[in-house]
Symmetry: D2
Subunit: 372 residues, 4 copies
Amino acid sequence: MNPTTETRDLPRTSTATRARTMRAVVKAAAGAGAEIREVPVPAAGPGELLLRVLRAGVCGTDLHIVEWDRWSAGRLKPPVTLGHEFVGEVVECGSGVTGFAPGDRVSCESHIICNHCLACRTGNGHVCENTRILGVDVNGGFAQFVAVPAANAWRAPANISLEAAAVMEPLGNAVHTAFAGPLSGCNIAVTGCGPIGLFAIGVARAAGAARVFASDVSAYRLDLARKMNADAVIDVSRESFPERVRELTGGNGLDGVLEMSGSPAAMRDGLAALRNGGRLSLLGLPKEPFELDWNRLVIFKGVTIHGIIGRRMFETWVQMDNLLGSGRLDVRPALTHVMPMEKFLDAIALLRSGNAGKVVLVPWGLEAGGSA
Amino acid sequence: MNPTTETRDLPRTSTATRARTMRAVVKAAAGAGAEIREVPVPAAGPGELLLRVLRAGVCGTDLHIVEWDRWSAGRLKPPVTLGHEFVGEVVECGSGVTGFAPGDRVSCESHIICNHCLACRTGNGHVCENTRILGVDVNGGFAQFVAVPAANAWRAPANISLEAAAVMEPLGNAVHTAFAGPLSGCNIAVTGCGPIGLFAIGVARAAGAARVFASDVSAYRLDLARKMNADAVIDVSRESFPERVRELTGGNGLDGVLEMSGSPAAMRDGLAALRNGGRLSLLGLPKEPFELDWNRLVIFKGVTIHGIIGRRMFETWVQMDNLLGSGRLDVRPALTHVMPMEKFLDAIALLRSGNAGKVVLVPWGLEAGGSA
Amino acid sequence: MNPTTETRDLPRTSTATRARTMRAVVKAAAGAGAEIREVPVPAAGPGELLLRVLRAGVCGTDLHIVEWDRWSAGRLKPPVTLGHEFVGEVVECGSGVTGFAPGDRVSCESHIICNHCLACRTGNGHVCENTRILGVDVNGGFAQFVAVPAANAWRAPANISLEAAAVMEPLGNAVHTAFAGPLSGCNIAVTGCGPIGLFAIGVARAAGAARVFASDVSAYRLDLARKMNADAVIDVSRESFPERVRELTGGNGLDGVLEMSGSPAAMRDGLAALRNGGRLSLLGLPKEPFELDWNRLVIFKGVTIHGIIGRRMFETWVQMDNLLGSGRLDVRPALTHVMPMEKFLDAIALLRSGNAGKVVLVPWGLEAGGSA
Amino acid sequence: MNPTTETRDLPRTSTATRARTMRAVVKAAAGAGAEIREVPVPAAGPGELLLRVLRAGVCGTDLHIVEWDRWSAGRLKPPVTLGHEFVGEVVECGSGVTGFAPGDRVSCESHIICNHCLACRTGNGHVCENTRILGVDVNGGFAQFVAVPAANAWRAPANISLEAAAVMEPLGNAVHTAFAGPLSGCNIAVTGCGPIGLFAIGVARAAGAARVFASDVSAYRLDLARKMNADAVIDVSRESFPERVRELTGGNGLDGVLEMSGSPAAMRDGLAALRNGGRLSLLGLPKEPFELDWNRLVIFKGVTIHGIIGRRMFETWVQMDNLLGSGRLDVRPALTHVMPMEKFLDAIALLRSGNAGKVVLVPWGLEAGGSA
């Protein structure tokens, strides 16, 4: 991997000479799989930007879509171009767009919100009732070009690599989860060290937690957690999480748990390890409903539980921009693989193996690290 | 019932002439039951007040203690005088007590906290790790006299009845639950119309909720909910709670649910009826662990869940004092029965029948309403 | 005054037959004064609504504009149609508008925000750096018709009068100020009983304050404060505000002050009357800079001061809608005068006299109360 | 300076052999000055600890007391032993003390609160109406021994130097100020780089601010600010604070200002440099009342101002303990001088010169660094 912070050497495609078609990763039909296809280059509609995609991140959700799980089957309407984490260079501004210009390097919020529902009108667009998602409901960024609403674009900090800029969307999940409760001076644990969990370790540290502990069952992931500077890692396949936390906190317990695994055991352990009055912020999606001893773990302890989805628009992006732009937060140890977008299915296989942090894809025609 | 707001006609018992023994409701031994016994009158130790009990409330917890459920069997060390909701007149101040004088009418916080644990030292004494409870771990107020730490005493507002002053402890549970999230201008539902649920209806209205809905399966209790001025009542034995809420809120859903029933169905329905980003505050204790569809009901909705226990010391009491003292809150419709303390087991039977709101007991030697 | 809650009897003007010109109150040129003129009927541009104005409120700012004070001279670019508080009936929807239809009765947020600055992108549009104001920077609602961005329109609750719907904008100032800090169960004072102060009394009561006190120097206004159900009124021309508050709160002081007068003395007295740790929310605009004893009034007391401007978009409107729509809040006692819009300068004179609450104007061709 | 983290080599004075008198810095009489005197060793009363003082910090307040300014003249009742910042070793526990034992190394909260007033009973003891202060109202720690309420003692983290432990009281002021509003991911400025300002720089960084800027007029202090790792320092004798901030924040302005100077210009500049909706937290005490352009600097910007006093008990101490104990926060660059307590008046002269950060005193009989 060879991170690139510069876009100036990239070939600028003017509208005039731009090709009519492009390569893209497409969910072509209901059912398992995904294919690489030649599709039309989109146009920037009113209020939209046309981006030349520079890098894109692969998400666990992409794995579910390829596998065509129940959620995917109920939600996607093929054909659709996948990819909801990406950075691109603005090549065209649709009518009515202000504040962006060709050449701008932008990362994208993937949730396209309605601006009309109660949630949207009260500053809670992250829980908009009519959200459409890039790469899920609308063509996304696993392609050479993508059209996005300018309202979803965020000019990426100039000092970060293209790979880091590509993953601001999932990084925003981590920021949103971490910032849902007190952080400064707190003792925090992150349960689950997939890519967002790894990000959350870095975020919690950069954002002022006193101590950040991380748990997982995978030695590979715990090693990445160490590289993200977790103060201690807990291998819950061999150690009791609540007991280890008790030792690490001088018997006080945790101020907060950022739950990234979706594991019922992690959630129960997280609650057990909280101090009375602590908070559990839930981003990881459990596979199915599960039970809890509400009295012992929630009510008698006076705990607060947050369900977390998406990113606050755009408060989370401002926070992320500040943390990345100031250099306080460095997500690079979590970005374990950079691959050509052509090898999308290999990336999916890598994710399935569990031996990867975040995998970043390089679209056709761009050399990974070529300009770095 | 004949509420009394005055204590001036009550006989003042001077220390000199006070009897050595008194009548009390005592859990005498492990196992079901409770008995009325002659026990020694307690003394006011250092920092304590000796109170002549004027009225006491019967709680669902008292029912569990009489029935000797698993929780009771694990916690109580008989013999112990029961009763954790009461108002009394100060008859003696122990050494070092300031701010109280004989004749003061005080209601009591039932949680005796350690003042040393992390929770206590950060203003979260309601989740003190070493809480002892009056009438559970320490002799309580179902007696003619009770000794309490002066730190637990709260001078009751002068304008309220003795019966209302007697139930400030459970009313504080309702206030704590209601005040755990936004109330002013909100649409709130109370699920479960036992005494604390009934109080919560009144509290939410007095504290500025725009609309307060209440649900239960008992016609008797729903009728009391109406008397507490619920804007609408929902009989969940016959109606769908989420559907009815949807109608009542113009499709928006609830801003908050105050869960008072401990029923898994109520909690699931409450979550389903919340608007995205709403809050569920849990006071009702489920009988056993139960499962939840976390993704659909919590995470995708961006909901916040609060576990609630006890009362914030003493912020909750200040709020309660203001609401009662200003006349904004009137809990009398929820106080359905006033009985002699001698008939404690009848009160328990009444509670078990479900056909009661809050039952208030009058100690031996006092006439209910006699001085009103 | 004859409040009207129905619009169905109003003549519906179809686009086809609508006149090309209309009557309007216009600031025609720099300098004192305002005139009634025949001006073109505006069109609904993209994303805009054309409203037939039904009622409009006169604001202290309108008085300043007529008098052409320094602020006005620096801000307005005549000619401009005045009026930033109004309710209208939708007669035409511009292209791209969704969620509104002709016949809808809408009240309007007067701040047209940029949606691009840091404040806008973080849910703080009320402090947008590029705000343009209807009736100040853009033609407003003192006219038979007005074009407004659909994003600024709020469907008024069906149960309130046209006059109440007309003043939701200034009412929102009161809600924003009151909701800037704790209200439920609090002891609150409103300093200054002009129209927004009067609204604030009603808002604080409806939103759950335990006690609401109001101060002013005008007997006329204090009488209106009583009609808005203030628990006590304080004539600061004759009484000491801090002393009176001390009596009224049993020596505790206030939890919050809503400052609506812009008077240095009111602000100092308000701070002095706060309990330690209380809050002062400032909406009233002082005429000029003034000094404060920061140590004694702010720092040693641990007080929080909020500067308040505009309304949170649109959280404040949701709160207002709930309070008005549920019937908890009734602003009618503060609406002292309803006059033909033709008599705008008489309304200004009335405001200047101080012997008015809120003055509401009825546009040409509509009969005040005619359809009520 | 030679920081010491160990107390084990210090001579343990048993009660039996302890001398009856000790050396202390005493304000002996009304008027300027202070003297070193032989005074009785205090005893540990009920609920108190007797501490052997190990290190003590000199505060600007001590300078005012020596100079006998108006505040001192109105407050102190000589004779009183000075010193409100110190760390000591427990040598004796008074009756009723639990949780401490001889040999414990404790730092002390200087505010002795009443536990009875409204502030105290609602978790706001830092604004207790009846606060007595160690070294001001009650004999303090500029002595070989001091008696303190056990409730005021905080076991210092084991990993920090005695000098750092000695200044937890003023460090707590910095933590309280910084934590009064959002920090994580924010752009923060500290105005005024005296000892507490220097601490605040370190605190804001450790607690997760994205960028921390610092301003002063003294080159000496700005140099210390750099050593505390300020991202940029602003010499307001030569540069415009708002302009420089604008550059440093890409035009956005500050999220928060921590005002430590008491200078009217710093406060006005701080407000001007805030983004709309930002916060100003005021700890620095202005010498006298001063005026503000409320409209432009507070109301139109929607700013929040906090008056800050003392430390939250004991939430601030928990936060401080976590930040120091985890090693995230290192205050040593701000501790510029360690001197024998005998040279107290030299320390005062040094403070008056402005060429010092925090000055720490070593009591008689202890060697600075001797045991390090």
